[in-house]
């Protein structure tokens, strides 16, 4: 009978888990974690997107043939096409028709109706295959020998621009992440401070029965860690869910900005993120409580 009653005995945490508005604290931290998740996923996606743009740009080029006479132009296009085909056998080489060429030039020429006889350069686009050499420098010389003058745009100008914007986005979203994390630190500090006040009685009792400051700090570290973990889990799940919804085809039509695609490994990052969030809360609670408790001791 004795053993039975012993097994039934509870083991509650020393700090009151329900005091100090625990729920609103977890709610607030969840929102912070949510925002951080969105910022994190946004930055990851931006990164991914700029990489894919870059490689698309780096793996393609456009070749212009600037001859006004249409018959001559057609001949030159043919020569160029053949030459390219020979040199880049695996790559995708396309001669753009007049309409497509016009479309490509629209940003420069404007959107109004262009006269039919406007001299438009012939455009050949090339998407390099893995196996082919991407070097285009010698081709202009080779073509010149055959009497064809071409202008080569290898997109380096573009890819530089894209790289720059990608860096700006990365810096921006990292700054945002740091900001959000420091908000989490502030909240955790503040919560610890008010918990120390609200649970002053408990702390005094613990000190009286011989608890060391570090023992009490550990209680706060553990509490903050658990709260960080719970709110991290809430916030991240919600953030993930939001991003998944936003990346569905239907949503992609609504948003102007391209919406990210998701990959499985992202979940590992998010789990790491939750752990980081929790550790972040723990550390700030530990520092705050140690600080306050040691001040208290000096007063005594």
């Amino acid at each position: 009978m004795q053993d039975k009653s012993i097994k039934k005995l509870t083991s509650n945490p020393l700090l009151d888990p329900n005091s100090n508005n625990a729920r609103s604290l977890v709610f607030t931290l969840s929102i912070v974690a949510y925002l951080a998740t969105i910022a994190l996923l946004f930055s990851v996606t931006m990164n991914r997107m700029s990489t894919s743009w870059n490689s698309a740009l780096e793996n393609s080029a456009t070749i212009q043939i600037l001859v006004e006479n249409p018959t001559l132009r057609e001949v030159q296009v043919e020569i160029t096409f053949k030459n390219l085909k020979e040199n880049y056998p695996n790559s995708e080489i396309t001669v753009l028709d007049k309409k497509k060429s016009l479309d490509m030039l629209k940003p420069w020429l404007g959107n109004f109706n262009l006269p039919d006889d406007l001299p438009i350069p012939a455009l050949i686009s090339i998407n390099f295959a893995e196996e082919d050499n991407k070097d285009l420098t010698y081709i202009s010389a080779a073509l010149k020998n055959e009497g064809v003058i071409v202008e080569i745009d290898d997109h380096t100008r573009w890819s530089d621009q894209v790289k720059k914007s990608a860096i700006a986005l990365k810096v921006g979203s990292t700054a945002l992440l740091i900001l959000i994390f420091s908000i989490a630190i502030f909240i955790s500090n503040y919560a610890t401070k008010s918990a120390l006040l609200a649970q002053k009685n408990i702390i005094n009792i613990l000190l009286q029965v011989g608890a060391k400051n570090i023992f009490i700090s550990k209680l706060f570290i553990k509490q903050a860690g658990i709260r960080g973990l719970i709110s991290g889990l809430y916030g991240v799940s919600l953030g993930y869910f939001t991003m998944v919804i936003m990346s569905t085809e239907r949503m992609k039509e609504v948003f102007i900005i391209p919406i990210p695609n998701f990959y499985w490994p992202d979940i590992i990052y998010l789990l790491l993120f939750i752990i980081g969030f929790s550790i972040n809360c723990s550390i700030s609670a530990g520092l705050t409580s140690m600080n306050i408790l040691s001040k208290k001791r000096r007063r005594r």
Binding site: S5, K8, L9, T10, P17, I205, V209
Partner: protein, 240 residues
């Protein structure tokens, strides 16, 4: 089961548990509530601290369990001048003192069992090592069937017994009690007193503050009386 490690310093010194010398205490910039108090409690002694309400009994006890700092004079606990020892040494002294206060100081969200277990839990004892001890002790103080109860469901007397159980669970060398019979009837106060006497028989030094003259009668104990901020009838000299 809970063996005490005695440090070398303590062995070297005599058997004084508490010593006050020319002690003075004031709160903030107020007047001295205690002045020129000389006091000495020997190991194994049973002491009553008496005096009218507001005389400074609680304040004197607080000095003994290091909840307050003296304004002047010397306090030595177990042979250590507490103004010159490390924080670590203070922790270990605190563990040798069991304190029972008028307001019991039980933690509301913890059960009786958990409240009593606090000193052991705080010093890192494993739960399975002390569960049996606590059950026995609670049985002994008559709280055997209230182990799972929360403090708010206890009567005044039950809270008091829980507080006492917590104070003695770690087998302290010194027990300090502030008006322990303040909230209970005469029968209960006799029982509590018997508990203290029993603890004393096993070598524990006892210091009880009370304004209840009746309690003091018929017990072979030192009586320290506070009057006008200072201690009279002390056994300070008789200890030599």
């Amino acid at each position: 089961m809970f063996k005490k490690k005695k440090s070398k310093v303590q062995i070297a010194l005599n058997n004084e548990v508490v010593r006050f010398e020319r002690l003075g205490l004031r709160y903030g910039r107020g007047p001295e509530i205690l002045s020129d108090v000389d006091m000495c409690l020997n190991k194994g002694s049973f002491n009553f601290l008496t005096g009218p309400s507001g005389a400074g009994k609680s304040s004197l006890l607080k000095l003994c369990y290091m909840d307050l700092k003296q304004s002047r004079g010397l306090i030595s606990l177990f042979g250590n001048d507490i103004s010159s020892i490390s924080q670590k040494a203070k922790y270990s002294i605190k563990k040798r003192i069991g304190v029972i206060l008028q307001d019991f100081r039980l933690i509301d969200h913890l059960t009786v069992f958990e409240n009593v277990a606090l000193p052991l839990r705080v010093s890192g004892e494993k739960r399975r090592n002390y569960t049996k001890d606590i059950c026995e002790l609670l049985q002994w103080v008559g709280l055997g069937d209230r182990m799972d109860a929360l403090p708010k469901t206890l009567s005044g007397g039950e809270k008091q017994r829980a507080a006492i159980a917590r104070a003695i669970i770690s087998k302290p060398d010194l027990i300090i009690a502030d008006e322990p019979t303040g909230n209970v009837d005469e029968v209960m106060s006799k029982r509590l007193l018997k508990l203290f006497i029993e603890m004393n028989r096993s070598g524990t030094t006892i210091l009880i503050a009370t304004h209840d003259k009746k309690l003091v009668k018929g017990i072979n104990a030192n009586i320290l009386n506070i009057e006008n901020g200072t201690l009279i009838n002390t056994n300070f000299n008789s200890s030599f």
